[in-house]
Symmetry: C2
Subunit: 355 residues, 2 copies
DNA sequence: GAAGGTTTTGCAACCGGTTGCAAAAATGTT
DNA sequence: AACATTTTTGCAACCGGTTGCAAAACCTTC
């Protein structure tokens, strides 16, 4: 029995092995000479205990180094304070910021993120079942690419769910917080037109993703108002550097490329920028690029990407807020929270033209 | 009681509210007309049940959509399959890869990562207590900057812990997996000397971090063998782009800067590269840079950083492996696993000199 | 078909907590 | 001091599972 294993061994022997036993409620009750309920009550807030009792119990508890077992507690309270944090964006640098803020925000509210990495093969059903088996209080689905049906799996399993970075809908059937991708597309188009670009390209993320579709729709709509503008478009395989680079290389090999591109995402944009530079062309003099997200890296001076900022801090705060309110009121009416995006001007688009 | 809330409502009424009740063992037992233990046994592998019984139970279970509650189970089995994944590196892009691989690796083994974001203010004790309250089976501390004492808090609380990306020690007092930072420092110095650089700089990460210290030690040692070489050194405030950029700006403003720098980390290197470019200097013709980590971004064509690869996949696999083996044998002898690093040649150092 | 061995099953206690209820103690009122 | 009221406390049942043990059921074998 190594000495380092103090403080608390109420050791018991099995197969010649000493095990570290956790201190339980009973141990404290015994030491303090009070009932189990008394101990329980001093550790659940809102319960009635006299100050004498509380002192006695707390003394015994601290002497033994006791702290209550949350999981055992959850059995009767039906609250684990565990929140499933589900995502499939483990390759987009933006999501490190997202995870950072989610974990911090949840922790600040006494909630614990159970992280689920949804790789392609893992199916919705099994993740949902697993999260149910762990009795999570709720699930936050943080992804702009997962189909809406995914979140519904959780909802149908009776678990409060908020869909973060999901598709905006005017008639949401579950909590959803994010941006209006159609509006973003429009904004990007407007920005490009405003700077006098005529031959304009849309370099989207994965075609099936709703975020890609919506951005394209908005982009198209805006361009249609300007008959002088020429639209070309294509999609990349993923929201990744390589995909963006590859697609831009393909475009540059073609007969003629656009004067400026709206890329589906910053990391895609950075890939495209790399391809442009490799081809010996300059940004913004030869080709303009506008991205979307404004991840930290985009502001780095050697990247300096003009982009549309997605207010992730607000999205995350709102998501957590909605989750917390759902925990209190599970049948809360589904709500969509949409945050406005804004163009962040840096160095990859030419200056606005006077015309 | 909304229709979407099927499949399973054994509804009960409270304050006029319908609640979704989880299906329990008892429900299944009742429906199948068998004992509770029978149901329990069909769902715990290694238990003896006749095939008849199993069929009966499984039929009833699937009819009700039952799956066992892991947390209740954990009360008697003393296994939650929850693993605390603790880190303070939520700003280094490398760690997105780290989280991706950790979560996937743990999931593949049926373990669940409970993510803990250790911001500066949160203290070790309280995180340790919290993880204990959730009865995690083990804790993986993934950080190259946290002091070793931190991991010891968990160990002293009786929780199996492996320190990933931690400081190598020839006499480890807990499981530790990572690289030999002294050797890395040496390797960097050797590489720079080999390329004929004479005036050589060490641009370290945060000075107090053991990883910084060790890299510096190795770097220094190697340089001492070459009296013709001149060493200068400084430290940045953090492993971040901004810190690297700022420090390099400071160096460039100085009377004379080194011909080549070993930066404590890739993201630091990228910041330094940015500063160099902004100053109108070229890499590698004016200044050489070698980083450490080889995160994905370093291979991007527009960054193309020569660096020392830290084999994160192997480190993570080994960490998980050690954790799994500790779960089976908690008093396993502490072990240090050290993986070799290798120089990845790209475009930020000049070619080796023949001399 | 009975004896003997093996497997399957159910009972009941337990894991570490919480909580409704009634008894006990403390407090207030006259 | 006697009584009514409020607060505090302990008992015992419960949350949703697991498991040691003994009884029951099933196989062999003679």
């Amino acid at each position: 029995m190594p000495a380092c294993r103090i403080p608390n061994i109420i050791g018991f022997q099995t197969m010649g092995e000493a095990w570290l036993m956790a201190i339980t409620l009973d141990d404290v009750a015994k030491l303090a000479g009070v009932s189990r309920s008394a101990v329980s009550r001093t550790f659940t807030d809102g319960a009635s205990v006299s100050s004498k009792m509380r002192r006695k119990v707390e003394k015994a508890a601290s002497e033994l180094g006791y702290s209550p077992n949350f999981l055992a507690r959850s059995l009767t309270t039906r609250r684990t304070k565990l929140i499933g944090l589900v995502s499939d964006n483990f390759h987009n640098p933006l999501f490190l910021e997202v995870f950072d803020q989610f974990t911090r925000g949840l922790q600040d509210r006494g909630l614990r993120p159970l992280l689920v990495n949804l790789s392609v093969e893992t199916d919705a059903e099994s993740s949902a079942r697993m999260l149910q088996q762990y009795s999570v209080d709720g699930v936050i689905v943080a992804s702009s690419t997962l189909p809406p049906a995914f979140s519904k799996t959780f909802r149908d399993a009776g678990v409060p769910v908020v869909n973060s970075f999901g598709r905006y809908s005017s008639d949401p059937d579950m909590h959803i917080v994010g941006i209006d991708n159609i509006e973003c597309g429009r904004m990007a188009a407007h920005e490009l037109l405003n700077r006098g670009y005529k031959n304009i390209g849309f370099l989207g993320g994965p075609e099936p993703a709703t975020s890609t579709q919506d951005r394209f729709t908005g982009f198209q709509n805006e361009l249609q108002k300007h008959p002088e503008a020429v639209l070309s478009y294509s999609f990349s395989e993923a929201y990744s550097f390589d995909a963006g680079r590859k697609e831009m290389q393909r475009l540059l090999r073609g007969a003629s490329h656009a004067e400026a591109y709206f890329c589906g995402d910053d990391v895609l944009s950075i890939g495209a920028l790399s391809a442009i530079k490799e081809a010996g062309l300059n940004v913004p003099s030869d080709i303009g690029i506008i991205g979307l997200n404004d991840m930290q890296m985009s502001g780095w001076q050697n990247i300096n990407l003009t982009t549309i900022r997605q207010p992730i801090a607000q999205i995350i705060n709102a998501s957590i807020e909605l989750m917390v309110s759902m925990l209190e009121k599970p049948d809360r009416y589904p709500e969509a929270r949409v945050f406005p995006c804004a163009v962040i001007e840096r160095g990859t688009l030419r200056a606005p033209q006077e015309n």
